[in-house]
């Protein structure tokens, strides 16, 4: 029998997930809308003074991005587990870790990448200085995959549970705190004219660590949840 290579399988899985996602465009935009709305709340709740907003902008952008990816995590594997696709993936000869990594990649393209692209607009609304925008985008591009990967591992752990929602945030938040710290600090440093390279390197290191370890954690978690 002709067994397709791992790369082919990976891209097929990504393509399938993207196709499925684009059939429900409404749901697709939810995390992005959430991201924008949460950032809108801060000027309303605090004080729309440009000075104040500029001071809190890095924190607000990062917390909003974190919450948006948290919101998206819930639906990452739910549907596939419910309709049995996940069992087929687990039974297939291809490694489950790779398939779940493909699913997370698709998930990032749908929910993480839009956040990165939208961040200049949100930053502008919060009077984030222009010189901090590229750094923020790079940092978000490095950080959102980590958020999605860790969220994926935790979603795989809790996917079999009926009351997963609040629990999922409780599991994800303490683990991703370093990402928030490094990301917001990178933006902060760029704002004050310092070189943010150190923070970005640390984020990149964390991303590589997450990329190499979490797929296996995800697969192990999924196998536990499935039986």
């Amino acid at each position: 029998m002709d067994v397709p290579g791992l790369g082919t399988v990976f891209w097929l899985q990504v393509k399938r997930d993207l196709q499925l996602a684009f059939r429900h465009v409404g749901q697709l935009a939810n995390p992005l809308m959430f991201f924008i709305m949460v950032t809108t709340l801060f000027p309303l709740a605090l004080n729309p003074m440009p000075k104040l907003l500029e001071a809190i902008a890095p924190g607000v952008v990062w917390v909003a991005a974190l919450l948006a990816s948290l919101l998206a995590a819930e639906g990452l594997f739910r549907q596939d587990v419910d309709d049995g696709t996940m069992e087929q993936l687990a039974l297939s000869p291809q490694p489950l870790a790779l398939m779940l990594l493909a699913k997370t990649t698709a998930h990032w393209l749908i929910t993480g990448l839009p956040l990165v692209i939208m961040s200049p607009v949100v930053g502008y609304a919060l009077f984030l200085p222009r010189e901090a925008v590229p750094t923020t985008m790079i940092a978000l591009a490095l950080a959102t995959p980590i958020l999605n990967l860790i969220a994926g591992a935790m979603a795989a752990l809790t996917v079999g549970l009926r009351r997963g929602g609040g629990l999922l945030s409780l599991l994800i938040l303490p683990i991703v705190m370093p990402v928030l710290i490094f990301g917001a600090r990178a933006t902060d440093m760029a704002m004050s004219g310092m070189d943010p390279a150190g923070a970005l390197y640390l984020l990149a290191a964390l991303m590589l660590l997450a990329l190499s370890l979490t797929p296996f954690a995800m697969a192990a978690a999924m196998r536990i949840s499935l039986d």
């Binding site: 303490p174 640390l202 954690a217």
Partner: protein
């Protein structure tokens, strides 16, 4: 060595051994803590700067070190349970969590009580305080996950995986928080970083630490015994063991 390992993993054997071990640890804990508390509160000289205020460290430092020690213990037990499929190891991990969370809370509480007169505030966003708080959240997450899964076997394995993910993250969290703090805050508060202690003060701290360790062992054994009782309910060896008493 391996037969010993497997023997320890069998509930009946553990149930017998722990019944014998628990009082030893409990009495050792009581004696050591009484000696340590007496030494720390009366014999040790007062600090030249903080006077008697420093004496809370005799509770604070042992609980802080135990909070981390127990988390690592829990993750090791969880990993043993996951790899060798030893149910007893899962029971140990499950029993560790509430004890560890209590010690973490105790460390935070005693720290706040000490900080109020010394720093003039209950809470500061200091690196150590923050990482201790995150540790508390990690314990909460572990316990919440375990509580949310009804099936014992699945709860064991899922929470074991969570503990392992958590323990990989503990150093990352610790150093990220330290880095965040050194950048963020002026050095006004971290003046008391780690004073090189006088031997007269340190000796009682070590006694207290040993006492806390024994206390942990005694409580852990008791909790694991309770877990074993619940998990082996209806099994023959348990009925026999209970009838012998």
């Amino acid at each position: 060595m391996w037969t010993w390992f497997h023997k320890l993993g069998s509930p009946p054997h553990f149930y017998r051994i722990s019944a014998w071990l628990t009082p030893w640890f409990a009495w050792a804990a009581l004696v050591l803590i009484v000696i340590g508390a007496y030494g720390g509160l009366y014999i040790a000289p007062a600090d030249y700067q903080q006077l008697d205020g420093f004496r809370i460290i005799y509770v604070h430092v042992p609980s802080a070190s135990l909070s981390l020690f127990i988390y690592v213990n829990m993750a090791i037990a969880a990993a043993v349970g996951l790899i060798w499929r030893i149910k007893l190891a899962h029971a140990v991990a499950a029993a560790c969590a509430p004890i560890g969370a209590s010690f973490t809370f105790l460390a935070l509480a005693t720290g706040s009580i000490w900080a109020k007169p010394m720093w003039g505030t209950w809470w500061v966003w200091d690196a150590r305080l923050t990482s201790e708080l995150v540790l508390l959240f990690l314990y909460f997450g572990y316990m919440a996950l375990r509580a949310a899964i009804d099936d014992d076997n699945r709860a064991d394995r899922a929470s074991a995986l969570l503990a392992i993910i958590g323990v990989v993250n503990v150093p990352i969290i610790k150093y990220s928080v330290e880095w965040w703090n050194t950048l963020h805050q002026p050095a006004t508060i971290s003046k008391l970083g780690k004073p090189s202690m006088d031997f007269d003060m340190l000796i009682w701290l070590l006694v207290m630490l040993a006492g806390f360790m024994c206390f942990f062992a005694a409580v852990l054994l008791t909790r694991v015994r309770a877990e074993v009782l619940v998990r082996s309910r209806g099994q023959k060896w348990l009925k026999q063991a209970l009838q012998e008493n």
